[in-house]
């Protein structure tokens, strides 16, 4: 109870801001008679969210699917690549620049190519989202694997530990906090990557994600629905971040 009393401003303060902003927004739209195809008020957006929920929900699931797969692929491949990098300085020096090239090349620029080359749309989307998302896991985990306590390293050597034992019992556990921090960043990036790829692909039909709904609503001047889809994207991003933060806190409980 006391804890709740101490913590409530952390929840209440941002909520209050949201209420004020949304209220001011609604008031401004009504007072100035702004037409909804220019700027809908929060009430209109809420109504669109409820009315178009079946359609938006379908699209949300699609986008979530690509995001989740990209995140899992980032975690697995980022980790594996980091382990390979950590095996020798030479491998790391040889390959790391290419990882950076992938990272710094704007995904908007390469997404059209990927969509031409890869026939299945979902695979192309996944690939785009993965390219955007994998780098933080890779760089953080590489750093983490090399950050093990040098004295512990000596201790492992003293007891004749094999390379495998050092990896599994020392380097991977040492890398875990940084891996999870990387994953938290990758979660948001996977969503951005998926959305960008959907924009570029512009694939319509039943199997289209939230980004396509935003495009489509824009063409049709269904601006409240556009905002509703946008709100869903934001909410998804926040939810992913919170979920990964909780996961990280749970996995690292009891550690320094």
């Amino acid at each position: 109870m006391r804890k709740w009393l101490a913590e409530w401003p952390r929840v209440a303060a941002p909520l209050l801001v949201a209420l004020l902003v949304l209220g001011g927004w609604e008031w401004a739209v009504r007072a100035n008679n702004v037409p909804p195809y220019i700027l809908p008020g929060p009430a209109a957006i809420g109504a669109a969210l409820v009315r178009d929920w079946p359609l938006l929900w379908q699209s949300l699931l699609m986008t979530l699917q690509v995001t989740a797969m990209a995140l899992v692929a980032s975690a697995v491949l980022g980790l594996l690549l980091a382990i390979i990098f950590a095996q020798s300085k030479l491998i790391e020096t040889a390959l790391f620049p290419y990882a950076i090239i992938l990272q710094v090349t704007p995904i908007v620029a390469i997404a059209p190519l990927i969509i031409i080359w890869v026939d299945q749309v979902w695979l192309a989307l996944l690939l785009c989202a993965w390219i955007v998302a994998f780098f933080p896991v890779l760089s953080n985990t590489t750093l983490g694997l090399n950050s093990a306590d040098p004295n512990l390293h000596d201790l492992f050597r003293l007891y004749g530990a094999s390379r495998w034992q050092v990896l599994v019992r020392l380097r991977l556990p040492s890398a875990l906090p940084l891996f999870l921090a990387g994953l938290r960043i990758s979660g948001g990036l996977a969503l951005i990557g998926a959305i960008v790829a959907e924009f570029v692909a512009g694939a319509g039909g039943a199997e289209s994600g939230l980004a396509y709904r935003i495009l489509e609503a824009g063409y049709q001047l269904q601006i409240p629905r556009m905002f509703a889809a946008l709100a869903l994207v934001s909410a998804t991003g926040i939810a992913i971040f919170l979920a990964l933060s909780l996961l990280s806190r749970w996995v690292l409980r009891g550690r320094d």
């Binding site: 004295n151 000596d154 492992f156 003293l158 007891y159 019992r169 550690r255």
Partner: protein, 255 residues
């Protein structure tokens, strides 16, 4: 008695640029009897930790001969200045590590680790993570980990330097008790005159640049020693002697 460690003409040079790099150790001759408790006393930077690592086989000597009769894995234990525990593992998980690394199955390693923890007075804290333990308790876990393989040689690199005086004295006594129980060979690196005289049967005083053994000082009183030894005139006299030896060693460095 047989010799546990025998060093003759051991030197260690870091780097190999034309100027010759840094000479960390030069011409170290040292024989340690089995079951002896030796202290290496010296100012910081005199190469005493380097010497300990050479004996442990963690770094190679540049020249000279190093013979250690505890060369198999687990026959040498090492206690670092920091507890150096794995933060993700419980106390018992940390103590089990040397056994698990040499392939001892968990069900066998666990009771042995629990026994080692009991020896250092940590029964009941087996499941605690290092974070939940005090500095002194962490150091006890570290000592238990070094002793769990029943080593013939225990190397201690300023293990108590970061602890408060009271904890330090208690750990000194406990270490002597453990040493008496199994009579492993112990080599302790320290920069504390009092600690070196209290704990060991011989103090080797080191000088710096290059690191070398300047003087050796036997401490005759029988081990282990109780709290009353700390207040004896004999102890005070030996501390003064060791202190003078240390000053001489440090002046030699400046010359």
């Amino acid at each position: 008695m047989a010799q546990s460690v025998l060093l003759s003409g051991v030197s260690k040079r870091y780097g190999n640029d034309p100027s010759g790099g840094t000479l960390a150790l030069e011409g170290i001759d040292l024989a340690v009897e089995e079951g002896e408790f030796l202290s290496l006393l010296g100012p910081s930077g005199c190469g005493k930790s380097t010497l300990l690592r050479v004996i442990a086989g963690l770094i190679p000597a540049s020249s000279g001969r190093v013979e250690v009769r505890a060369a198999r894995h687990g026959e040498t234990g090492f206690v670092f200045q920091d507890p150096t525990l794995m933060p993700w593992a419980s106390a018992i998980g940390n103590v089990m590590l040397p056994l698990r690394l040499s392939g001892v199955p968990r069900r066998e390693a666990e009771p042995r680790a629990a026994e080692a923890l009991a020896q250092v007075g940590l029964s009941g804290s087996e499941r605690a993570r290092p974070r939940a333990l005090s500095g002194g308790m962490r150091m006890r876990v570290s000592i238990a980990r070094a002793l769990v393989t029943r080593p013939r040689l225990l190397l201690l690199d300023e293990p108590f330097a970061a602890l408060d005086e009271i904890t330090r004295h208690r750990l000194n006594d406990d270490l002597l008790m453990l040493w008496e129980a199994t009579r492993f060979t112990a080599i302790l690196v320290t920069h504390s005159v009092f600690e070196s005289v209290y704990l060991s049967s011989r103090v080797a005083v080191m000088a710096a640049r290059p690191g070398r053994i300047a003087e050796e000082l036997p401490v005759e009183a029988p081990l282990p020693r109780g709290a009353e030894y700390r207040t004896s005139t004999e102890y005070a006299a030996l501390c003064r002697q060791a202190s003078h030896a240390l000053s001489r060693a440090m002046e030699a460095k400046a010359a």
